[in-house]
C-alpha cells in the first residue's frame, strides 16, 4: 500500500500511473462505477416497473380457503406460538401436554415459538396469505384484534365443530360470543390476558393507587407512570375509568379518552408507553405504577415482593389470544384435534399451572387445585363469577376505525 502513495513517486511515474488509470484497464474507478450502476438501476427499474407493482386486494373469500387435508397421511401438526406460552418439563426442553397429545393420538406436534409481536407476525404472514399460499403453519395464535382482522380478510379457515366437542362444551361463557367471531366459528381462545394496574410498593412510598385516574392525576407520580403501547389495552382501561363501555364506545368517547391521556403526556405524568419491557422498569422502581398484563404480574409477584396489582372499581380489560387455522394449512383435522385436546379440563389445568394466564376452559379448578393450590385460588388465573362480571372486552373495529384509532394513538405516543 505505502509504496503506491502518489506523492512518493517521481513526477513521471505518477503521471504515467494517472494515464493508466484514466485510459487503461484500471480506468473503471469506484466513482465511475457508482455513477454507472446508479444510472443502470434507474434505467432498468424505470418508471414502468414502478407502476407494475401493487398489492392485490386481500378480502376476497370470507370463510377462508382450505387446501387438501393431509391429516390422515401425515401425522403431524405445525403449531406456531408465542415465546414462553406453554408448559415446559423440569429439564426445560419437552412440553408434557404435547407429549400426552402425541401418545394419545399418534400425531407429532412441531412446536415453534416464532411469534413475538402481533404486528410483526402479521407482516411476516401477509405476503403468503395475500397470495393464497400455504404458510407452513397449521395453528397460529393471534390476539383477538388480529384474529378479527384475519377473519375479516378471509385468511383463516372455518373450524369443523364436529371435531371440537370438548371445546364447544367447556369454553367459558365469558369468551363465547366476541362480536368479531360470534359463536367461535373461526377461533378458540388459547389463553385470556387481563389488563390491570400494577405497582411497586416501595416506589409508591405510601401513595395510593386504585384507578387509572390516580395514575393520570396524582402529581406525586409524575414521570413514574407507564401505559401499554397496545392501543386497545391502554384505551380500554381509560374508557372504563371515564365510565364508558369499551364494547360500545363512540368516536367522541375515543377522542375524549385520547385527550385525557394527551393531557397526562403533556404534563410529563406518563413516562413511557411500553411493550413487555415495563416489567423490568416496574421491578427496578423506575415505574411506580403502570397499566400491566396480569400474567406478567403473577410472575413478577413471585419474583419480587414489592410488586402487586389492583383491579380498578371501574373494571378491567380482558383480551384473548386465539388459536386459528390459516388458509391452505395442510393438516386441518390434526389442528382441530389439538385445539380440542386443550379444552379437556385436565390438560387446560396442566397448562394453566405453568403459564399464569386466564384459562378459557370451564371446570379447570379441581384439576388445577391438585397441581397447584395457589394458582387454583388466584382470580387472575381462574376468574370467579364476580371477576368475570368486571371484565370487559374491546369492541371489534372496522378497518377504517382501526386505521383512524391507531393513528390517533400513535400521535399520542409520539408518532
Amino acid at each position: 500500500m505505502e509504496q503506491y502513495q502518489p506523492d512518493r513517486l517521481t513526477p513521471a511515474q505518477a503521471a504515467a500511473m494517472r494515464r493508466s488509470l484514466r485510459n487503461g484497464r484500471a480506468a473503471m474507478t469506484r466513482r465511475s462505477l457508482l455513477r454507472a450502476s446508479a444510472g443502470g438501476a434507474l434505467a432498468a427499474g424505470g418508471l414502468g416497473a414502478l407502476s407494475a407493482c401493487g398489492i392485490p386486494a386481500a378480502g376476497k373469500s370470507q370463510g377462508g380457503t382450505s387446501a387438501q387435508d393431509h391429516s390422515a397421511q401425515e401425522k403431524v401438526v405445525n403449531f406456531s406460538n408465542w415465546t414462553e406460552y406453554i408448559d415446559v418439563d423440569d429439564k426445560g426442553k419437552g412440553h408434557p401436554t404435547l407429549d400426552t397429545f402425541r401418545r394419545r393420538t399418534g400425531i407429532t406436534v412441531k412446536y415453534t415459538e416464532d411469534i413475538n409481536d402481533n404486528n410483526e407476525f402479521f407482516g411476516k404472514l401477509k405476503p403468503q396469505l395475500a397470495a393464497g399460499q400455504d404458510t407452513g403453519r397449521d395453528i397460529i395464535v393471534l390476539t383477538d384484534w388480529l384474529a378479527a382482522r384475519l377473519i375479516r380478510l378471509g385468511w383463516v379457515q372455518k373450524l369443523d365443530p364436529s371435531h371440537l366437542p370438548h371445546a364447544y362444551t367447556n369454553l367459558s361463557p365469558q369468551f363465547r360470543d366476541p362480536d368479531w367471531d360470534p359463536g367461535r366459528a373461526y377461533s378458540y381462545p388459547w389463553q385470556g390476558i387481563s389488563t390491570v394496574i400494577a405497582y411497586n410498593k416501595k416506589a409508591l412510598d405510601g401513595v395510593e393507587v386504585k384507578s387509572v385516574s390516580d395514575l393520570l392525576d396524582n402529581p406525586k407520580l409524575k414521570g413514574r407512570v407507564g401505559f401499554l403501547s397496545e392501543m386497545r389495552d391502554s384505551m380500554g382501561m381509560t374508557l372504563l375509568d371515564m365510565g364508558k363501555d369499551p364494547a360500545k364506545f363512540t368516536d367522541d368517547d375515543f377522542d375524549a379518552a385520547i385527550a385525557r391521556l394527551q393531557k397526562a403526556v403533556d404534563k410529563g405524568q406518563i413516562r413511557r408507553f411500553t411493550g413487555n419491557d415495563y416489567t423490568s422498569d416496574l421491578t427496578k422502581g423506575d415505574l411506580a405504577a403502570c397499566v400491566a398484563w396480569a400474567g406478567d404480574v403473577v410472575q413478577l409477584k413471585a419474583d419480587s415482593p414489592d410488586v402487586d396489582f389492583v383491579i380498578p372499581d371501574s373494571g378491567y380489560m380482558t383480551s384473548t389470544d386465539n388459536l386459528c387455522i390459516p388458509n391452505k394449512a395442510r393438516h386441518k383435522t390434526n389442528a382441530e384435534r389439538l385445539i380440542d385436546f386443550y379444552y379437556e379440563p385436565a390438560q387446560a389445568a396442566a397448562l394453566a399451572a405453568y403459564i399464569n394466564y386466564v384459562t378459557p376452559v370451564d371446570g379447570v379448578k379441581p384439576y388445577l387445585a391438585k397441581i397447584d393450590e395457589d394458582a387454583a385460588g388466584n382470580p387472575l388465573i381462574v376468574p370467579d363469577k364476580a371477576m368475570q362480571a368486571r371484565s370487559h372486552a374491546f369492541r371489534s373495529l372496522s378497518q377504517k376505525e382501526e386505521t383512524t384509532y391507531e393513528e390517533k394513538f400513535a400521535k399520542l405516543t409520539g408518532a
Partner: protein
C-alpha cells in the same frame, strides 16, 4: 486509494502511450463484479423499486393498493412528521459529535501511545459487539436507573438541574429523556467512529511528527497542522458511519426515550407495522434517504476529502 494498488509497479515512462489491451481478461473486472452486482440488484435495487412504487400507491389492505402516482403522500408525510425528522437529524448529529470527541483521543492513544496494550484496547473497543444491540441498549436502562448510582451522583452534583434547564432531561431522572437517547446512540455507534479513525491515524508516519518538532512546532501545532489534517479521511468516514445509521435508528428512542423523543425510525416502524399505511411509510423512508444523501454530499464536498474516502 485502493484503486491505486492495481497499478503495475515498475512504470517505464518512456513506453508508448496506447498499448492495445490484452484480449483475454478484458472482461475479468466485470465477471468479478457479477456476484456483488447481483446481490445489489436483488437486495437493494429491487426493494428500492418496490418501495418507490409503494410510496405512490393508494388504497387499503382490504381493497388492495394501486399505483395512482399520488405524490401528495410525500408532501403530507413531510408536513406531518417534520418534527421527528428534525429530531432524528439533531440527535444523530449530537451523537456524532460526542462520538468524535470521545473516539478521537482513544483512537490517538491506540495508534501512537498504547504500545503493547494496543491489541488489548482494540479488543475492548470491539468486544461489546459480541452481544446483541438490544441487550447492550437494555443494559443502559439498568445503568441509568432512577435509583441507580449514576443518576444519584448526577443529582447530588446538581448536573441534572442544569440539563433539565436545557431541556435535555426531565426532573431528576435521565431515562426517558433526550439525553438518554443521545447517550445510547453515542454508545452504540462509538466503535464505528473509533475504527476508521484508528486506521487513518495509524498510517501516519511517525517521522512527520519528528520533522514537525524539528521545525519548532509545539505539540498542539503539530496536531493541528500535521496529525489532524492527515486523519481527515478517518474523521469523514467515521462521522458518516456514525451519523447515517444513527439518523435512522429507532431502538434507542424506543427503549431509552419517551413520547417526546420519538425519531423518524419509530414513525416509519409504526406506519409500516401498526397503522399499515404502507405508502406513507415508504414515502418517509425515501425522504429520509434523500435527506441523508443530500447532507452527506454537501458534507463530503465541504470537507474536501472526496478523493480520500
Amino acid at each position: 486509494m485502493s484503486t491505486l494498488t492495481e497499478a503495475p509497479a515498475p512504470l517505464a515512462p518512456a513506453e508508448p502511450e496506447h498499448k492495445p489491451p490484452r484480449k483475454r481478461g478484458r472482461f475479468t473486472p466485470y465477471w468479478l463484479l457479477l456476484p456483488g452486482m447481483l446481490w445489489l440488484i436483488v437486495f437493494f435495487a429491487l426493494p428500492m423499486i418496490y418501495q418507490a412504487s409503494t410510496s405512490v400507491q393508494t388504497g387499503s389492505l382490504e381493497d388492495g393498493y394501486k399505483v395512482t402516482w399520488h405524490f401528495a403522500t410525500y408532501w403530507d408525510a413531510l408536513g406531518e412528521y417534520w418534527p421527528q425528522f428534525l429530531r432524528s437529524v439533531s440527535y444523530a448529529a449530537a451523537a456524532t459529535v460526542l462520538c468524535l470527541l470521545l473516539g478521537y483521543p482513544l483512537a490517538y492513544l491506540i495508534a501512537f501511545r498504547a504500545g503493547r496494550w494496543k491489541n488489548l484496547i482494540m479488543i475492548l473497543v470491539i468486544a461489546p459487539f459480541f452481544t446483541s444491540f438490544l441487550i447492550r441498549t437494555l443494559a443502559w436502562k439498568t445503568i441509568l436507573a432512577d435509583s441507580g448510582v449514576v443518576v444519584h451522583t448526577l443529582n447530588s452534583l446538581h448536573v441534572l438541574d442544569v440539563t433539565s434547564w436545557l431541556g435535555w432531561t426531565a426532573g431528576d431522572r435521565v431515562l426517558a429523556t433526550p439525553l438518554a437517547v443521545v447517550c445510547g446512540l453515542t454508545y452504540n455507534f462509538l466503535p464505528f467512529m473509533i475504527l476508521p479513525l484508528y486506521t487513518s491515524l495509524e498510517r501516519i508516519d511517525g517521522r512527520l511528527h519528528e520533522a514537525a518538532g524539528d521545525l519548532y512546532a509545539k505539540p498542539w501545532t503539530t496536531f493541528r497542522k500535521v496529525t489532524f489534517p492527515l486523519s481527515m479521511p478517518g474523521v469523514v468516514s467515521g462521522t458518516l458511519l456514525t451519523f447515517i445509521p444513527a439518523a435512522g435508528d429507532y431502538v434507542n428512542a424506543e427503549l431509552l426515550g419517551s413520547t417526546d423523543t420519538r425519531m423518524i425510525g419509530n414513525v416509519i416502524q409504526t406506519q409500516f407495522l401498526r397503522i399499515l399505511d404502507y405508502p406513507t411509510a415508504a414515502a418517509l423512508s425515501f425522504i429520509l434517504m434523500a435527506g441523508i444523501l443530500a447532507m452527506v454530499t454537501i458534507y463530503i464536498r465541504r470537507s474536501g476529502t472526496e478523493d480520500l474516502v
